[in-house]
Amino acid sequence: MAESVIFYLFGGVAVIAALFMVTRHNPVSCAMSLVVVMFCLAVLFLGLHAPFVAMMQVIVYAGAVMVLFLYVIMLLNLSDEELGRTIVTPLKLFGGLVGCLFLVALVVLVQGDYGEGGAVNPSFGGVAQIGKELFSSYMLPFEIASVLLLAAIVGAVVIAQREQK
């Protein structure tokens, strides 16, 4: 019972905030709406026995990534003219229509009987279990991820620096 209340409450808020994000003109409002979506998803993750991922969601996404976005928005200091009104062109209407069709296709695809997800071990999805998985079965992807992050750090610094005169 509690799980379904939480699911509909936070799922609904997530969808509304996502719609808000896509329709707002001001990028800062968009970023804030996206933070709301991420927090709602973190709550849903907690309900799905994934406390580790929920923590990562709040720390990495709502914390680090969104701060980076806000930082760049502030740094660019866009004028109102630059932000511009969103003009509805036939092409965009067509895009919206294709989006709706895409949603219908996805809805049809996800219907089906997946069986009852039975009860899981209380420690399922905890830091201990995910840590063990990461350092045993998924050792190689984990290490490659660290190399990817290093490459991203170096790449971001190199790309963003001003050219030396």
């Binding site: 019972m1 799980e3 379904s4 699911f7 799922g11 969808v15 996502a18 994000m21 896509v22 990028p27 968009c30 996206l34 979506v37 998803l41 849903l44 993750f45 799905l48 994934a50 580790f52 991922v53 990562m56 969601q57 996404y61 680090a64 990534v65 980076l68 976005f69 760049v72 740094l75 660019l76 511009g84 969103t86 965009k92 919206g96 989006g99 895409f102 996805l106 996800v110 219907q111 009852e116 997800g117 899981v120 071990n121 999805g125 995910i130 998985e133 990461l134 079965s137 998924y138 992807p141 991820a145 990817l148 992050l149 490459a151 991203a152 750090i153 790449g155 971001a156 790309i159 963003a160």
Partner: protein, 101 residues
Amino acid sequence: MTVPLPQYLLLGAILFTIGAVGFIARRNAIVIFMCVELMLNAVNLSFIAVSRSLGEPAGQVFVFLVMTVAAAEAAVGLAIILQVYRLRGTINADEIKLMKW
């Protein structure tokens, strides 16, 4: 699982579609990036829900890796946007068309 798996997948599909339509319709490069993040989040939700349904932690490990890739992508992408703004004075995706047809 009192909420059946298809409902979680449905929520993921709705969020993914909103992100995809925003990606097509919005012209501000930063907002386009945020739409990509929204799509990644929607997929993460599906991963976690299926992982819970199967009682298999692999899905959560995948989400961990998706988050890593998303963070790397955001850092490099925003650096590119910053540099494009310095060079062109705009981040409107309609005006940045050097590499379009």
